[in-house]
């Protein structure tokens, strides 16, 4: 579902790569935590998936789409297939909860009738039906994040990526949000979550990918725990070999960029 193959990214002006030869394969319907200190490359990885940034080397294939082939005018269409959740919610401040969710469907060109049918369902899913006509500023942080999740799943994306979704929330609401993400994962959506939150990661026993200095230093397939010190991690099979098995059948010439390189 999400495949990064030997991806390297160096931001202009930096000597050290933000991502250094990263290979990662996430299967459909997986729930994966991406952990690491700030500056480890989590955000860069997320931006690669949303195609805000392009890799310098390597290939990214998301849900069967080779991102090299997604031209700039296709990017909006591509993004509509992703659900994206942010730490700071990124809701439209002058629109109500209902309108925020409806907006994501409007830009996808859904008919008004379908929108009227879909939005209440989604708001029901995140348990915000009674807040539909409030503005974001009138809601608590947890509620705002639930609106943002509702917006991102309204189009029923196959993939949901969440960048520090619990970063601005208190302990109780964090658990709430995570269980909501789990619920979405149970419906069949692949979920990728970056987080700092040790407790959440350790309680959930999901796959945990640890980034450090732009490299994947650990990939615990199950019962992953949050440890940034890689030596203490009880390693499951070596991440590198695991990835090679997964990528080989799909991508043969890994490091060559596609000829139709996007114009910058």
């Amino acid at each position: 579902m999400i495949l990064l193959d030997h991806v390297t990214k160096i931001y202009p002006g930096d000597k050290k790569p933000a991502l250094d030869d990263v290979s990662l394969h996430i299967e459909p319907n997986e729930f994966v935590f991406l952990v690491g200190k700030s500056g480890a490359g989590k955000s860069t990885l997320m931006k690669m998936i949303t195609k805000e940034e392009n890799p310098d080397v390597g290939k990214i294939i998301i849900g069967g789409i080779d991102l090299d082939y997604v031209r700039r005018r296709h990017i909006p269409h591509y993004r509509r297939r992703l659900g994206v959740v942010f730490q700071d919610f990124k809701l439209l401040p002058r629109r109500t909860v209902y309108e925020n969710v409806a907006f994501a469907l409007e830009i996808a060109g859904m008919s008004s009738r379908e929108i009227r049918r879909t939005v209440p369902k989604v708001l029901d899913l995140v348990d915000l039906s009674d807040q539909a006509h409030k503005f974001p500023a009138q809601l608590s942080g947890g509620q705002q994040q639930r609106v943002s999740i509702a917006r991102s799943v309204a189009r029923q994306p196959k993939i949901l990526i969440a960048d520090e979704p619990t970063g601005n929330l208190d302990k109780l609401t964090r658990a709430e949000i995570i269980s909501l993400l789990q619920k979405i994962n149970d419906f069949g959506t692949t979920v990728l979550v970056t987080t700092h939150d040790e407790a959440i990661v350790n309680n959930l026993n999901k796959r945990v990918v640890t980034l450090k200095n732009g490299k994947i230093v650990a990939d615990q397939k199950e019962h992953g725990i949050y440890r940034l010190d890689e030596e203490k991690i009880p390693t499951s099979p070596s991440p590198a070999s695991e990835i090679k098995i997964n990528t080989k059948p799909i991508v043969s010439s890994a490091k060559s960029r596609s000829p139709k390189k996007e114009k910058k």
């Binding site: 069967g64 090299d68 269409h77 994206v84 809701l91 060109g109 991102s152």
Partner: protein, 341 residues
């Protein structure tokens, strides 16, 4: 890249853009909706932009009307004047015909009319038809006045010209053509200069109105483009967070930029209507006063009285929308990307 992945990617890209026609209509109506909402939300900025644009359109229409009215007035006055050449009384009708043809060959001559001295005499009689004493005296066979009159009255040629400012070619014919030199009555100068100073004044005013108005229009055009440009720029900056969010949830270019264009075009429509209303009222107010001064307002009032008024309104609205679109496009083009990076 293996062809399998390539195929899958291509298939996906196709489905991504499928059904785009029905969707695009939906999108356009949504873009218009959001543009209208934004116009209302930024009502103060929108008002400023609209007013400047209105001013521009008014200056433009004043220029247009003034140029039209003044040049028409000048034309009317040019038509009224003629140049008269005087020939010796004994010049025969055939010679006059020949002289006329020589004159008509000149490209500046619109028409020429010749009268022999006898015809001139008849004309004189007609003009004084109510003076019976004079006519009786002249026509008295015993006094033989008639013959005397005809033998002293000059034959004439009356010319109408296209360009009264440029009579050199005509003067040249009069001075150098042998037939003219031979037959001209030198006791009376040809009348070249009647009214010409007045016409020159009006022609000059028409030119001033044209160039001055053009310059002023351009100045105002630039100002209004700048104001709208800045309005949109400010709107982009104040909404850059929002624009970034829209991009991330997959809004495409048109959906993000469209509302800004709609906003500026709305300003254009409002100012088109407003400026037409003001210009119309102004013209109607001045119309009788101008007519009193002998200025021809007929063409303009005819347009305003006929169905053509619809085109005038539409043109002004379109002009407003054009100004709005151009300036908004400039601003969006220049700032959209940098604002959201």
């Amino acid at each position: 890249m293996p062809s399998a992945t390539k195929k899958v990617t291509k298939k996906h890209l196709k489905t991504l853009t499928k059904n785009s026609k029905r969707k695009s209509f939906r999108n356009v109506s949504r873009i218009v909706k959001y543009g209208t909402i934004n116009f209302g939300r930024n009502i103060w900025l929108s008002t400023a932009a609209t007013l400047v644009m209105t001013l521009t359109l008014i200056v433009l229409s004043i220029t247009l009307v003034a140029t039209l009215v003044l040049s028409e007035t000048a034309d009317a006055m040019k038509n009224r004047i003629d140049i008269t050449l005087f020939f010796k009384p004994e010049t025969s009708a055939e010679t006059l015909e020949e002289l006329k043809n020589t004159m008509l060959a000149d490209s500046n001559v619109k028409s020429a009319e010749v009268k022999t001295s006898e015809e001139e005499y008849q004309n004189f009689l007609q003009e004084n038809a109510d003076n019976s004493l004079l006519i009786e005296t002249l026509e008295d066979p015993e006094m033989n006045m008639r013959e005397t009159m005809i033998s002293t009255m000059q034959s004439t040629m009356r010319l109408k010209v296209y360009d009264p400012d440029n009579l050199d070619s005509i003067k040249n014919i009069v001075a150098s053509d042998l037939l003219f030199v031979k037959n001209l009555d030198t006791t009376e100068e040809p009348t070249y200069d009647v009214n010409s100073s007045e016409i020159a004044t009006i022609t000059r005013w028409a030119k001033i109105a044209k160039t001055g108005g053009l310059v002023l229009s351009i100045v105002f055009l630039v100002i209004s483009v700048l104001v709208i440009f800045n309005t949109i720029r400010m709107a982009i900056f104040s909404r850059r967070e929002e624009i970034y969010m829209m991009k991330l949830v997959g809004a495409d270019r048109g959906f993000i930029r469209g509302p800004f264009l709609v906003e500026a075009q709305l300003s254009g429509v409002v100012s088109g209507l407003l400026s037409f209303g003001l210009a119309y009222a102004g013209f109607r107010f001045l119309e009788p006063r101008l007519a009193n001064y002998g200025i021809s307002v007929a063409t303009v009032s005819n347009i305003l009285d006929s169905n053509k008024i619809v085109y005038v309104v539409l043109t002004m609205i379109l002009a407003g929308m054009l100004i709005g679109t151009i300036s908004a496009r400039l601003a969006v083009h220049k700032y959209m990307r940098s604002a959201t990076k």
